[in-house]
Symmetry: C2
Subunit: 429 residues, 2 copies
């Protein structure tokens, strides 16, 4: 009988690639889970050294991506995100060294008790296993994500954007050189073999091979991942952050914190998008705050009362209360005290980061308790929403989901736990 | 002009019901999140009292379900799960009192530090929000789930199986009477208005209204939920649990623990399904273990070596290593020491609960570290996989997922956290 050979379809090729990469990642994860802290840290330090040693190759790879990006007509902002120079490569290497210096999140005893029957039960932090990271065109995410996964004893499968393909692969080479130098399996950090979109679909279907998917990027990517994924997802959605200036605010703090929350870097997820002002603070504090913003080039869209305060304010529409501008634009609304602010934020916000400016301790506590967000601040800028600013060394992103990790996701948040039960022959009655 | 009125389709009716119930749950959750521990506990105690006071009504409702179940031809096992007598209603009431007696999981300070810039950061346990529970026909789940959600400050939306519809509703009335008596919003515990399957679909699509879905039931239900849900799911999959008898086991402990792990209650998720025996223990220990099981009526399916030991053993097929029998059946395989056991369990198991029997401390530690399961035990029965046996008071199930909660899910696991940051005017440089 003749054997019929059929060409594999592109989907079958993608499925086979996923199987191969996933199986290698699982085997590497089992090894990494048992690796001592020193060995993992050694791998991180060696990876940093390899990054510096191969800075020339990385820049050459980046050059290819930049050229293709220019030909494709990428915006200046995107090209700037993509670009790697010596200083940026040094910063990436330094980031890996910072992660190495953090305490090891694996093996922490989270709880520990004895049952009346003599069973000793402990809840112990262990790695999550295999983490899939799907991200857009920032090559530094490659090193941050790979490094944090390694620190937490996880294997990583990276799928970066097509625009940074060569840059990311060059960085991955350095990370893998670090693994090999420390005697750890190279497959602990892998990238998908191409930027074929079918491979993203395979990752999202790879339950059993991948334990968690972390998407990093724009709304389109995140929504696709959240809708399609059969693997649990650590959600990183919008940063629709608010500053609320209370009637009992210190006017100087109100000006400084509002300005910093919006204008320090308007494009980060912790940037304020909406300013809420207590009716009692409108006449006394808001004009100066508006003037600061507008003078610096910020566009202000306000409710009718705010428009009445300053002719340079344009009218806000309902859509403005739900828009993450990521730009020098802010919407401003007058509310009735802290209760009005809480209602607005829990209704329109994205549960990311919100700040109250007040000298009234009672109002502050009411706000901190009543706002359902990952990060709530009192008298501080929303732009502190950052793993580094929280002392975590690095972050893979800011989770706006409620399951598992909320707020900055560092190495500790990339672990789970297991129960270890030690007996002396107990059986259940 | 004439107005055309169109009948709403069943799907539109389901969507509207979900909107209404979800909005009421969100409002109730916001109130419950701020409720003091005493008030929540008062609601639990009042609910227990209401359950006892309405035991007659509950039994009458259960009578309707039982009659319908008999007409539908439900198996004896299913009818037994469904049945509520006075003793079972008392046990349910006692369960709510046990939950009330547990420490409050909300408001715990999980971490607390100060940054060099003076920001004081704390990570504080807060409720998850709105929890959707989709379960099959065990009416006691209604009270366990509702009570645990309430304890953790969450609103619950319950969707029980059609077979227990009247029983569950009668129990929910008692739970709501408890809420009202304690001055808490009745909408903190709601049930879907019918057992229409379209309503399950609406729950699975209700991202934004429901924060987490917890499915409890058979494989079909769980897989539907995990495949269809757009809301994060706390997975409760199979309990394919293993006992591994090491060559250095105490033969008495090996017999007693193996027998208990399988035969105490063969139908629970913590029951052992596969017994692995070190080649060194085969001749010395396995015959007596097999005899215990077979004498008690347990069917044994073994690999060729095991079949050779006892003529009453039938040959196991590959499918036996991945089958959760939930019955008096066990598969038995000879492995090469602890490494062979780890390889088999991580490959075929369901990451639920696995136990090693050995007097060799080094082998025990190797097993406890190497097995990637929610619960790993040394010299103790797998049937201890239970929130009550862990001292948690009650559980909503055993999570086999790795995100958020692993192992028994009690009130503590139904919380998330937020970061509270207290400043004195800090802005980010």
């Amino acid at each position: 009988m003749a054997t019929v050979t059929k060409m594999a379809t592109p989907d079958e090729v993608a499925a086979l690639a996923m199987q191969r990469i996933g199986a290698a990642a699982r085997a590497a994860a089992a090894e990494l889970a048992l690796a001592p802290a020193e060995v993992k840290n050694q791998a991180l330090l060696q990876a940093a050294a390899a990054l510096r040693a191969s800075a020339g190759d990385i820049q050459a790879a980046n050059e290819r991506d930049m050229q293709a990006g220019e030909e494709k007509g990428l915006t200046r902002a995107l090209l700037d995100r993509l670009m790697l120079d010596e200083a940026r490569i040094e910063a990436i290497a330094q980031g890996l060294e910072d992660v190495a210096a953090q305490p090891d999140p694996v093996g922490r005893i989270l709880a520990d008790w004895q049952q009346p029957n003599g069973l000793k039960i402990s809840r112990i932090a262990v790695p999550l296993g295999v983490i899939g990271i799907i991200y857009e065109s920032r090559p530094n995410v490659t090193a941050d994500a790979g490094g944090l996964c390694l620190k937490a004893g996880n294997a990583a499968i990276l799928r970066g954007g097509s625009e940074s393909f060569h840059s990311s692969n060059a960085i991955i080479q350095a990370l893998r050189a670090g693994l090999v130098a420390a005697g750890l399996p190279e497959a602990a950090i892998q990238s998908m073999p191409s930027t074929d979109r079918a491979l993203v679909g395979e990752m999202l279907r790879a339950a059993g091979l991948i334990d968690v998917i972390v998407p990093r990027g724009g709304r389109g990517l995140i929504e696709r991942v959240m809708n399609e994924s059969r693997v649990p997802v650590m959600a990183h959605l919008d940063g629709l952050c608010h500053v609320y200036v209370d009637g009992d605010a210190d006017p100087k703090k109100a000006r400084r914190i509002t300005f910093n929350s919006k204008m320090r870097r308007p494009g980060v997820c912790g940037a304020a998008e909406t300013l809420l002002v207590d009716a009692r603070a409108m006449a006394g504090m808001l004009p100066a705050i508006l003037d600061d913003l507008i003078t610096e080039g910020c566009e202000v869209r306000g409710d009718p009362a705010v428009c009445g305060l300053d002719p340079r304010v344009s009218p806000a529409t309902e859509a403005d209360w739900t828009t993450e501008y990521l730009d020098a634009i802010i919407s401003v609304k007058i509310v009735n005290g802290v209760e009005g602010a809480i209602r607005h934020i829990n209704n329109y916000g994205s549960h990311h980061t919100d700040s109250i400016i007040t000298e009234n301790q009672e109002s502050a506590e009411r706000f901190l308790a009543g706002i359902d967000s990952a990060i709530v601040l009192h008298n501080a800028s929303t732009q502190f929403a950052d793993g580094g600013e929280f002392g975590m060394g690095a972050e893979i992103g800011i989770s706006t989901g409620k399951l598992h990790a909320r707020g900055p996701v560092g190495a500790e948040q990339l672990t789970t736990y297991k129960y270890v039960v030690r007996g002396t022959g107990q059986v259940r009655p």
